[in-house]
Chain length 312, copies 4
């Protein structure tokens, strides 16, 4: 390590990552969270919210393709999409690549962050905020969904993990919230979500979220991918009452990718299928999980990645 | 980060990882390399050689199952195995789990390291060094293979990446070395190898190694897996003139796992298949690679992960 | 920073020091504190207790000469000495260099630390523990002094700062403790003590300790010196009812150094005098201090170096 | 250490300091050097040039009072002053506090740095750049002095240490440069200079510089002070053919401070005298030094603080 500026990120309570910053583009605090945007040598621009890297210029396509396209491709013709979180606009950008989409509502509580992304992170949104099909709402997503009876073909949940007993995001990881999402899905609709890092099998985030979602949806499917900018393997979930995504043939996926002319850089049909195949230890950890997160006792994560439940 | 002892590892020239050490079990230098063995909070014991973490107590099973079993399972009945490197004994341990194995020769140049592993890393070798089928050689593997005409059903190459222009391991990543390996394979034999981290597609290790191996073997197949203790996605290769591992049916793999009563914790037949499915960007990087590493101009890696060739 | 092992010390809440460890000689926890002994490139062996470097092989002579000799030289013929703390034996070593000393009692609560110093830190004690004039007591110094009515010519207090509201050392920095020390001094006796780092004038340790000692002794004199191994300027105090050390002439100090044949490496008479001359801002901070630490409300330091008082 | 932004400074090759940055005000490279200006919790704004902290808002008064006032007070009525380096303007500010000063020429090669200081570091210059008595020159100081025959009552040299064999500052630490300075001093004139960190006695910067200056001036006096923002004890030198500063009485210093109504925060007459009293080991190291830096073989420092000589 040469003299200079670094960003310190605590990956686990025992492992910390120093990222060299060539230039600091922004650093401060919105009403909701700390933010840092800086330039690095290997990953380009990096966006950090509170203590975690959210995405990097060089590899954000991997994260956002992984989050968005499996669910969107599992739907024969998604017209309306709702995004929970996703403030920097790249999830929205990938959603809008599906030509059948007529309306995409992105609901992020942090309006300041959205404004900052608009000016400082054009590589992420690439103009998506200005697409006439996009609607940007800066409110609490659960409250907004509760108050707006509109329904959607796909709902994408792009939230940070609920680390810490006081984490306000805890109520966005409960059975009740997933039930609300299910109510807001059209027949044939699907939910996709980021579902926690998969570091060692004692990291409980993914098993607990999977088990909670499974209480609500008939088909709950986990998948995973390595996100270079996080230096971590991440879990994702697609859930639906109508569609079992793992039942789709490779040919169907392939055909839809072609039909929709999706400019995919990381995914193709075989790789999408492969992401849904989990290693044995992770499958066993999911199968063994008994915790269910509910509004009365939402779960939260310790710094060690263990799951606890207590009254909100 | 609390006060205390840490190990600093430079993951890239721009990103560095600090691992908290609860206890330092050994630190020093053999004739060939620096070594550090320490106890950590999340990963148990950690073994570092020179600047890179080699494996950790908590997740070494992931690395070693991934390296060993695909090739071993692709062979109907492996009786003889040769291991290049693998000093701590866990590769040997996994090899010996296949009941058909009659002889396993492990050849690591660093005898001091092997001795240290014997006493300090019993969780790795689990007695494998004392298995009557095992033979431990402490010599340069290329020299030894050149001088000993014995042939094997499976040869497993477990080496560190050739980082730096003066890296002595450069001659273990050339066409000529792979040709020597091929000569030492029995009909129907396979080679398996660790083949570099896959961080961003400009990390050239994996594409160059794949392209070099491909000059020698009819079937060269890349696969990948996330290794938690490295915080990195790693590439591996199985190569053979006789067998295309991706042509094996899931049923065959499944049957062999059962038959051999392998106590796998991370792998099962579907996951082995899925590891061979690569993301689109990586496939393209491999396909586009033109560099071939030869004794006359062996390749080496810059700290940035770029590949260079120069006279050895 | 190259790859390898480091010790992280939080110098302030905002500044942290990484010291490269070539070798870890010991690390663990006694009944009372964490300890680390390691080898470094510039400072030789380093001893850390809890979160702070205590002393280093290369520069411990600076710290121990500074702590011990001014008070010892201010006494015409010190025969009996009591040391509060000082577990590694170097304070004792310097005390025993004064040929008039007949008895030196060292009282450190941490017997395990003393044993470890005996075997691992010979450069510190240099055999002092085995001097027939030395008596080693492993008890709480305040309790021991209260129960033993013996009196001394010099009492030396070598303690860590009372950082944190729960710090058990708080009762070793109060008016009542200094009164007990005064009762245990012979007529003409002096107390010397380590009295906190002097980083910026808002670091209150030194002013508060000075002001507390001043409530008890007629002559309370602060002095300071730079301790390289700490990378900090440290404060010390000599206090006495009988002797004002700043009244001693340079000639007297010089004569006593010669007479006693002290093998001083860092101090001589002019430098001893100069250490008692404080910069203007520090003198003003001491003069302005009003806090007095008492058993009923002993003071403690925040991590920022601010002083608080609360019930013990 | 909490997550967030840090500045890494290598204090020695074995010890590194991380300073938490609350905000980065500027970072980049002028034609001559890297620069970083950031806000910290304990020291306020910090200015770093290349790899070393230059000064901090909270303690720069200590450094600049120490550098400027001893020499200025040793002159009965300094009218003209030349400053070598000193780009942020605080040396100039302290110089201009002496009411007899009619002209102060500050010569710093880095005009971009001076411009940046003007807007970003008002706490340092406090308007000194706009004082009608100040003249700012952005040229190489040695070249400028060689080409301009004007002479001065005091010349102040405020340069970074010549670390590294290629350091362009090497020719500003030679006998020939000090001879040029002497030629540019009026009768009765003095030179003052920053003269290197004093960490352990094997750090050769101060002894070598002292020995080199001594070849040129009749009276060469070293003094030292602790600079909190550096976490280091620093050496300084006052040299003159006419005046031996250590011969000045405390009364004279006191009277001049009063007469000139200097608003000193850290220095007063007794402390100025005390700074010139060196510890025994440092005096011995200076006395034992034999290296002399000359244009034909200017000295430079290794990272370890050792001194070498080679052709420029």
């Amino acid at each position: 390590m040469q003299y200079g500026m670094y960003f310190l990120e605590q990956v686990t309570p025992y492992e910390a990552l120093y990222r060299r910053m060539n230039k600091v583009l922004a650093a401060g605090r919105t009403k909701f969270q700390d933010y840092f945007i800086f330039q690095t040598g290997a990953f380009g621009k990096v966006l950090v919210l509170d203590k975690d890297v959210q995405s990097t210029e060089r590899d954000e396509y991997i994260y956002h393709e992984t989050l968005v396209h499996p669910a969107m491709l599992a739907h024969p013709s998604p017209r309306t999409v709702f995004i929970v979180g996703g403030g920097e606009g790249a999830t929205l950008r990938e959603v809008l690549r599906h030509p059948s989409v007529e309306k995409a509502v992105m609901c992020d509580i942090d309006g300041e962050l959205v404004e900052m992304a608009r000016t400082l992170l054009p590589e992420w949104h690439q103009g998506a905020f200005d697409d006439p099909r996009a609607q940007i709402v800066t409110e609490d997503a659960r409250g907004w969904l509760a108050n707006h009876p509109d329904t959607y073909d796909v709902i994408i949940v792009d939230l940070n993990d609920p680390i810490g007993e006081d984490n306000p995001a805890r109520l966005l990881f409960t059975v009740e919230f997933y039930e609300l999402i299910k109510e807001r899905l059209n027949p044939g609709g699907l939910m996709a979500m980021q579902a926690g890092m998969i570091l060692l099998t004692h990291h409980k985030m993914h098993p607990v979220v999977h088990n909670t979602v499974k209480q609500v949806f008939r088909h709950t499917r986990s998948y995973h991918n390595y996100i270079p900018g996080f230096m971590l393997n991440f879990g994702f979930i697609v859930a639906s009452d109508a569609v079992d995504i793992t039942g789709l043939s490779e040919g169907t996926l392939e055909a839809r990718i072609l039909e929709r002319q999706l400019p995919l850089k990381h995914l193709d049909a075989p790789y999408i299928e492969a992401m849904f195949v989990l290693p044995k230890d992770l499958k066993e950890a999911i199968a063994a999980e008994t915790m269910v997160s509910r509004d009365a006792a939402p779960f939260w994560l310790t710094d060690e990645g263990d799951a606890r439940q207590s009254q909100a």
